[in-house]
Subunit: 357 residues, 2 copies
């Protein structure tokens, strides 16, 4: 029997999240205030269970199995759930910063809360209330990711060993996000910035540190941790490059996200940087005029897509993705991981390569 | 010699914060990106050292001394600094939610970042960039408060014992803030909500949990923890009631904050709830028209102040403050604390009672 059952891991992690939020809900109901006044646990529940690949929790649990053949400590699933809760924080705040309207095929948290809490207010006030409560829902998710980890009943020395991994992961993703935010709106041909952003905001955050979290909980040595990095960085970069393509060329019915947001926001992606570098004068004008325009229409987006295709930027990104998947596969061939974990990582990597959402 | 030297504690805590942020700055400088792209450590440094009473760190250190005559573990100062870093998070996000322009006599973080990063953008875009980066600076402060605590070199069992205290403190302050945000804009005569908000957002967060943090680090028993609560709750409530008075009647040159913000925002305070309850028809109309109006002028505020005084709401709040200080003093008389700590808590309580900022 395969010990690394990805579907089973997802189910166990989701049960941890359910259980935790149910406890938060009943704690809120104990307050004398009307419970609808504090609907943050419900808002997070709706958000977490509207979708999500649970990629970070999966990698965390696989990280454990990569490092040891010891029977898995049940607390590892809750530590994995903590990563998903942290991710909910990151997405809720991201959507505020990006002014996104939809995520996982639903209204984003700040939009939903503006509608639910803002009835009877004028539009600007309702939007500000949605923004304020979404910031708080995100803050709570961040604190609750800590609490999930602290209350996972992990052996003390293992919990203490993993705290610095979590601390560094947070610094990395926030650094990447900060760069992303300050470089948005005015994309250029500069490739260094978007490459740095995908390393910090995605590759380390989404793949490397979740693997490290599980591996450190298992007491991994530095050879295992280094091999995690060798596999994680190219896979994570490929993952984000695919995301950037899907953000412009994807099918919103599959991705659950608008394919206009990245262009409207002027997100400084590798895809756009390549197009800026290679654009002829007419193409350059199209990019300069349309990218970063908050009022960009579907027709405008079609013109930008033509430029991204005609300049070869799209093909180059596809090639970069292939190369990185190849590197990730090779890293796995050499990794000192347990065989079950290698097979699970191959499955995760293959499905990331084929994904359309 | 008095072991509880409040000025010395402030100095040591500030040195922890300085040292930590200096390390974050030099880590940022190691990135290949131009360091001005990631100015979150500087933004936090400016914010933290523009002022602040360091009340939570003081109470944390005094909490240790209340519980034990053991020589203080040096890590307690860093744990105390973690509370101040958490408070920076709370204030930065608060100011975004309240749309405040000034804090500690300086532009708030979102205003400052809008000006610094938004040069050349139109006003709406600059403001949104300020808001996004301020959210991130707050997020980082929250994560860094964790890191300060984790890296304080506390004995493992003491660190593990304090994590649940910190988790519950965070839940409490966020719950209070959530209620505060959803009840703003439409104050009424309801007293239960503002009383619940001050218990959670101020009394527990500002006084009780910081004392508990220090006391738990010292291995306090439940008698000591309960006595902390008995002292903390009335003092903390008095503190917030004073804050609400200063927010409307205070001298901005001393408080560093506008005295129009609370009225413009329509903050649902005990002061306003009392006035709503007691207002005659003409006074009621003044309150209904002016409180919650984002365009409220200094003249409008003067009219509201007249109503707050004429209805006796202001006097009642002053009386509530006196009663609570009296309760806090009596709680100290009975507390099983070390004498040095009692004397320090009396000093803190007296200066809170007399404060004008």
């Amino acid at each position: 029997m395969d010990v690394v059952d990805l579907t089973g891991i997802r189910r166990t992690v989701d049960a941890c999240l359910e259980d935790f939020l149910r406890r938060k809900l009943s704690a809120a109901a104990d307050h004398p205030q009307p419970s609808e006044a504090f609907d943050a646990p419900e808002a997070l529940h709706r958000f977490l269970f509207a979708g999500g690949k649970r990629l970070r929790p999966l990698l965390c649990v696989v990280g454990w199995h990569a490092a040891t053949s010891e029977r898995i400590h049940p607390g590892v699933y809750q530590a994995a759930a903590a990563l998903e809760m942290f991710h909910a924080f990151a997405l809720v705040h991201d959507d505020v910063m990006d002014r996104s309207d939809t995520r996982r095929g639903q209204p984003t948290v700040h939009r939903e809360l503006a509608d639910r809490l803002g009835a009877g207010l004028d539009r600007g006030e309702a939007e500000h209330l949605g923004l304020s409560t979404a910031i708080l829902v995100g803050d709570l998710a961040l604190c609750w990711s800590d609490e999930l980890l602290h209350t996972a009943h992990l052996p003390a020395r293992r919990l203490l060993a993993v705290l610095p991994v979590v601390d560094v992961m947070r610094d990395e993703v926030m650094y990447g996000q900060y760069l992303d935010v300050v470089s948005a709106g005015k994309p250029t041909g500069d490739l260094a910035t978007p490459l740095e952003v995908i390393r910090y905001k995605t590759a380390k955050y989404t793949v490397e540190r979740p693997l490290h979290t599980g591996a450190v909980l298992a007491g991994a040595d530095s050879a295992v941790l280094d091999a995690c990095t060798d596999f994680a960085m190219p896979l994570g970069e490929a993952f984000q490059l695919r995301d950037d393509l899907l953000g412009v060329f994807g099918d919103p019915a599959r991705t659950g996200k608008s394919r206009l947001d990245d262009l409207r926001e002027g997100k400084h992606t590798v895809l756009l940087a390549l197009a800026f570098r290679r654009a002829g004068p007419g193409q350059r004008e199209t990019l300069d005029t349309l990218v970063g325009d908050p009022g960009l229409t579907e027709d405008d987006a079609a013109r930008v897509r033509e430029v991204l295709t005609a300049t070869g930027a799209r093909d180059t990104v596809e090639q970069m993705i292939r190369t990185r998947h190849e590197h990730a596969r090779r890293a796995l061939d050499d990794a000192p991981f347990r065989a079950d974990a290698v097979s699970a990582l191959r499955r995760i990597s293959d499905s990331a390569e084929a994904r359309t959402s």
